[in-house]
Symmetry: C2
Subunit: 237 residues, 2 copies
C-alpha cells in the first residue's frame, strides 16, 4: 500500500541547513555563497560519498556501504514525489536534463507553470491547489510505490503538521550547528501539552551518520506522570 | 582517566523540556504546573520505567531492560557532578534527604552558600568562581571516575561551548514537541561556517528511545565541497 514517506539529513541539533540569509531569504541564486550552504553540505556529506547517490547524480565512484544501501533503498521505494517550490527553484538548474528522481514530481507552488518533462523518467508538475492536492496527485501517480516528500524542510513540516506523513527517516549527522534552519519547530502548531508521537522502526548506525526510521503515530496529548512514585517507595522515611 | 561527560533526554526535535513560562522564567515553585513539565516528563519517560532509575529515587519496581542498564552505567561512571543553579533549585526539595547522585555535586551559582551534606554520599558545594572552577573541583573529587554534567541544559551547552566536554550521550525520545527549550542553539556561539564535530561511539536502540553516545572532537570549520563533481562524470553530455 502506498505510504507517504520523508527522509532528511539533519545535524544532531536538528538543522538541515545553516541559517537563512536575512538579506535575501527567497533568493536562491546566491545560495552557494550564503550562510545556508556550509551546514547543508556538512549534514549531507554522508550521502555524497555513497555510490548510490553518486550514480543518481551522474558521478562515478563512491563507496558500496550501508549508507549507499540506504540511499538506493530510498530511491527505489519512491513512485512519485512532492516537493516545495523553494527546493525546486534551487535544484532546477543543477539537476540539469536528467534529474535524480526518475519519477513524477509534484511541486507545491502558487505559480502555475506547464509540466516539465525531463529525461530518465522525471517530470515536474506544478500544483497550485495546495499540499493535499499535490499528495493526492502523487499518490495516483506512484503506481503502488511510496509517495516521498523530496523536501525541502518547510514542506516536510507542513506534510507532518497536516497529518499526512506515515514514515519519517532522519539521517543524523554527528555535528552541532548551533544556528540554522530547524526541520521541526513552531510550524508544527503544537501547544505545550501536545506532541507528535513516533515509533522507532529501524536504526542503522554507520561511522558517519545515524539513520533512524520512524513510523508516525500522530498527534497526541502529553501527560504529566507522577515520576513513578505511585509504585512502592523503597527505603524512604 | 577522568572524562567530562554529559547525557540528556531530548525529543527528536532537540527539546529537553517544553517551553519556558514567559511570565515566570526563573520561578521553579510552579514548575510542575507550567509549560515546561509536559515535554520534560515525555522525554524522560523511558528512564522512569527503568529499574536502575527507580532504585536511585527510592522507588520499587521497574524493568530490568537495556534502558535500565544504561541508567546504571551512567550513575556508576560518575565520580562527581557539576550542576546548574536552576536545576539545583528545582531538585533541592524533591530529592529530599538522600538525593540520587551519591557523589559530590558542584553547583555553579552566583550565590554563596555553605556545603550541604546529604545521606548516601551526596554533597552540594556551591561554586561562585565560574564553570571552569566547578569542573576543576569536580575533577579533583571524582577519584579517577568521570565528571558528569548533571544538567540542566543551559549548563550542558556552556560546558560544550567552553570546550570542556569529552563525551555526550543523548537519549532521543520518539516524539516531536515543536516548541520547547532546545539543548543546543545560538548559545554555542557558532557562526554559519562553524560546527562542533562529534564521532558516534555507540548506538543502543530500544523500543522507547534511541541512545547515541558521541565522543566530542571539538569546534571546526565547515567546508563547502564540490558535491562530488570532481570525480568522473558518468553519462552526462
Amino acid at each position: 500500500m502506498t505510504k507517504v514517506t520523508a527522509q532528511m539529513s539533519v545535524s544532531l541539533d536538528g538543522c538541515y541547513t545553516g541559517p537563512r540569509d536575512p538579506q535575501h531569504p527567497h533568493d536562491m541564486s546566491g545560495w552557494m555563497q550564503g550562510p545556508e550552504a556550509p551546514g547543508f553540505f556538512r549534514v549531507t556529506r554522508w550521502a555524497v560519498d555513497a555510490m548510490a547517490w553518486r550514480e543518481r547524480q551522474g558521478f562515478a565512484g563512491g563507496a558500496r556501504s550501508a549508507d549507499s544501501e540506504i540511499v538506493a533503498e530510498t530511491f527505489a521505494a519512491a513512485g512519485a514525489y512532492v516537493m516545495g517550490r523553494r527546493m525546486f527553484d534551487a535544484g532546477e538548474v543543477p539537476w540539469g536534463d536528467e534529474p535524480p528522481f526518475r519519477a513524477p514530481v509534484f511541486v507545491v507552488t502558487h505559480r502555475a507553470r506547464a509540466v516539465l518533462e525531463r529525461r530518465g523518467g522525471t517530470s515536474f508538475t506544478f500544483v497550485t491547489e495546495g499540499l493535499e492536492r499535490a499528495v493526492e496527485l502523487a499518490r495516483a501517480a506512484a503506481g503502488g510505490k511510496d509517495v516521498a516528500v523530496a523536501g525541502g524542510g518547510e514542506l516536510l513540516q507542513q506534510v507532518l503538521a497536516a497529518g499526512l506523513l506515515d514514515q519519517l527517516e532522519l539521517h543524523i549527522a554527528p555535528v552541532l550547528l548551533g544556528d540554522g534552519q530547524r526541520l521541526f519547530g513552531p510550524g508544527l502548531g503544537l501547544g505545550a501539552d501536545d506532541g507528535v508521537e513516533l515509533v522507532p522502526a529501524r536504526v542503522v548506525d554507520t561511522p558517519g551518520v545515524t539513520h533512524i526510521r520512524y513510523t508516525v503515530s500522530g498527534r497526541s496529548k502529553l501527560v504529566l506522570d507522577d515520576r513513578g512514585a505511585s509504585g512502592d517507595l523503597v527505603g524512604r522515611p
